[in-house]
């Protein structure tokens, strides 16, 4: 589903965010991406959505070389992805319902059907009662859940989450991880970047560790065995 082959990413100014990163994620897999802040987690997710492009190497998503996609083709790649942004990127000039409606509007989805889907997505994240509220009136955890609802509303095959539990207390974090798990169970490929220990401890999937832009194959096994030992 997602394959990185010797990917290098250097930002203008010389900062080397990713060095020689290669890995593969199969369809339907749930994978965690961890590492210190600045290790390149966000960059890696951005490469998948073609928000950034690699300097070297190839990023394949659904057998498509994302790094070489034409500008015109980008929207259609992104419609297959559900992205939960670190800074949520919610729109405060419209209510909760319309925020979730946006991806369906963009795809030109059937009007009636889209209402049902928005409600279903909001129900899934527990925000159905807040559909008329402005996002500004929501708490941090609710922002996160709203962002998830928007990401899942057009039922993407791949779900990317950048620090979805950052700044949330443990209870909220568990709720949110449960939502991701339920998505994983219905067949979505899920990639979650996190540095939250409690999330990793309960992770029932592969863990990729980034350190200064490089993938650490050894510690992957380490954490896996650790979490298996705890489980």
């Amino acid at each position: 589903m997602i394959r990185f082959t010797q990917v290098h990413k250097r930002y203008p100014g010389g900062y080397q965010a990713l060095k020689n990163v290669s890995f593969e994620i199969a369809a339907g897999e749930m994978v965690f991406l961890t590492g210190h802040s600045g290790a390149g987690k966000s960059t890696l997710l951005k490469l998948i959505a073609a928000i950034e492009r690699p300097n070297l190497g190839s990023v394949l998503v659904n057998h498509q070389n994302v790094g070489a996609l034409k500008e015109r083709a980008l929207p259609f790649l992104r419609r297959n992805l559900g992205i939960i942004f670190q800074d949520h990127k919610l729109l405060f000039d419209r209510n909760v319902f319309d925020n979730v409606m946006l991806p369906l509007q963009i795809c030109g989805f059937d009007y009636r059907e889209s209402h049902k889907r928005v409600r279903a997505a909001l129900d899934k994240v527990g925000l159905l009662k807040r559909e008329k509220s402005n996002p500004i009136a929501l708490s941090g955890g609710e922002h996160q859940r709203l962002c998830i609802a928007r990401a899942i509303v057009n039922r993407p095959t791949i779900l990317l989450a950048d620090e979805p539990t950052g700044n949330l207390d443990t209870e909220y974090a568990h709720e949110i991880m449960a939502i991701f798990k339920s998505f994983h169970q219905v067949g979505a490929t899920v990639l979650i970047s996190t540095h939250d220990e409690s999330v990793l401890q309960n992770a029932n999937g592969r863990v990729l560790v980034l350190k200064q832009g490089e993938l650490q194959p050894v510690s992957v096994g380490l954490i896996q065995t650790q979490s298996q030992a705890q489980a």
């Binding site: 959505a49 928000i51 950034e52 015109r72 929207p75 259609f76 790649l77 992104r78 419609r79 992805l81 992205i83 942004f85 990127k89 729109l91 000039d93 419209r94 319309d98 946006l102 991806p103 369906l104 509007q105 963009i106 795809c107 030109g108 989805f109 009007y111 889209s114 928007r150």
Partner: protein
């Protein structure tokens, strides 16, 4: 379809959220458009009068006051044989006086005269309407015996026609300049709109919006702004003409004749509105094309 409608209405509602700015923009566009369009209307009117006054060129031959009936008959035969003349019309002095009384409202003045001051006259309709041919004919006829004066009646019409051409060219230049201004106004408005909706555009791009999807409401906005500007221009012209006609009416009553300014025809009105709409759309298109590519999500 309903999505597109909902989306566009939503965007437009946000765009018109600051009504004062929107209204001012539309007013500027409307006034800018009404200048060349108003000039065009005035020129159309003048042209209409000219056409009414002298539809075909003619040469008037005024005979000397002491011309006898024999002389007139001789002259008539001569004119009828002339190859460059289509037909002629004879206006006897008494008849001419009668016409003058009826057409200009100077009956009182004329009634006060104790002698008819008008000569007999022939009105000559030439076969060809070219200015040079007419002048040659006039010169030739002036030399005939008993002809006191040969006057080319449409000469002034040609001069006026040339002046109208000049006026039309001026209107065209004005229209071009102000159209450019309209495009520039829309360009700038849309640029500001894009800046204020930057966040929304960024998010929309991130979740798979095509450029067409993002561009569409801005194009609609530009076209609508242009259309409203066109409507303002139409009303400006129509109302101005109403006021002018009111004054003109009083004036023309003094001269005992009827002059009115006609407003834009239906076809011209539609053209004005479509053109202003197109200019607004064009300004928006230029602006969106230029500014949208700069917004890339990070």
């Amino acid at each position: 379809m309903r999505h597109a409608l909902a989306q566009n209405i939503g965007v437009l509602r946000r765009m018109f959220a600051s009504p004062l700015v929107g209204v001012l923009n539309i007013l500027v566009i409307g006034i800018a458009l009404s200048l060349p369009a108003g000039m065009y209307v005035l020129l159309q009117n003048v042209q209409g009068w000219v056409a009414q006054l002298s539809s075909t060129p003619q040469v008037s031959l005024f005979l000397s006051m002491n011309a006898k009936t024999d002389d007139v008959d001789k002259l008539r035969k001569q004119l009828e044989r002339h190859p460059a003349i289509d037909r002629i019309e004879f206006v006897a002095r008494a008849q001419a006086l009668e016409q003058l009384k009826q057409s200009t409202g100077l009956a009182d003045v004329i009634g006060g005269l104790n002698q008819n001051p008008l000569p007999d006259a022939f009105i000559v309709y030439p076969k060809h309407g070219a200015v040079q041919a007419l002048q040659a004919l006039r010169d030739e006829l002036a030399k005939l015996p008993q002809v006191e004066l040969a006057q080319l009646d449409s000469a002034w019409a040609y001069k006026l026609e040339a002046m109208l051409k000049f006026g039309r060219m001026m209107a065209l230049i004005l229209a071009s300049l102000l159209s450019l201004a309209l495009v520039a106004i829309t360009f700038n408005t849309i640029r500001l709109q894009i800046l204020t909706q930057r966040e929304e555009i960024e998010v929309a791009k991130l979740i798979g919006a095509t450029n067409g999807f993002i561009r569409r409401p801005f194009l609609y906005f530009g076209a609508l702004q242009g259309l409203f500007g066109g409507i303002i221009a139409w009303f400006t012209i129509t109302i101005s003409l109403l006021v002018l006609n009111y004054q003109l009416n009083a004036l023309s009553q003094l001269y005992a004749s009827q002059i009115t300014l006609h407003s834009l025809s239906f076809g011209d009105s539609v053209t004005l509105l479509l053109f202003s709409m197109y200019l607004g759309w064009l300004g928006a298109w230029l602006s969106v094309t230029r500014h949208l590519s700069k917004i890339e999500a990070h």
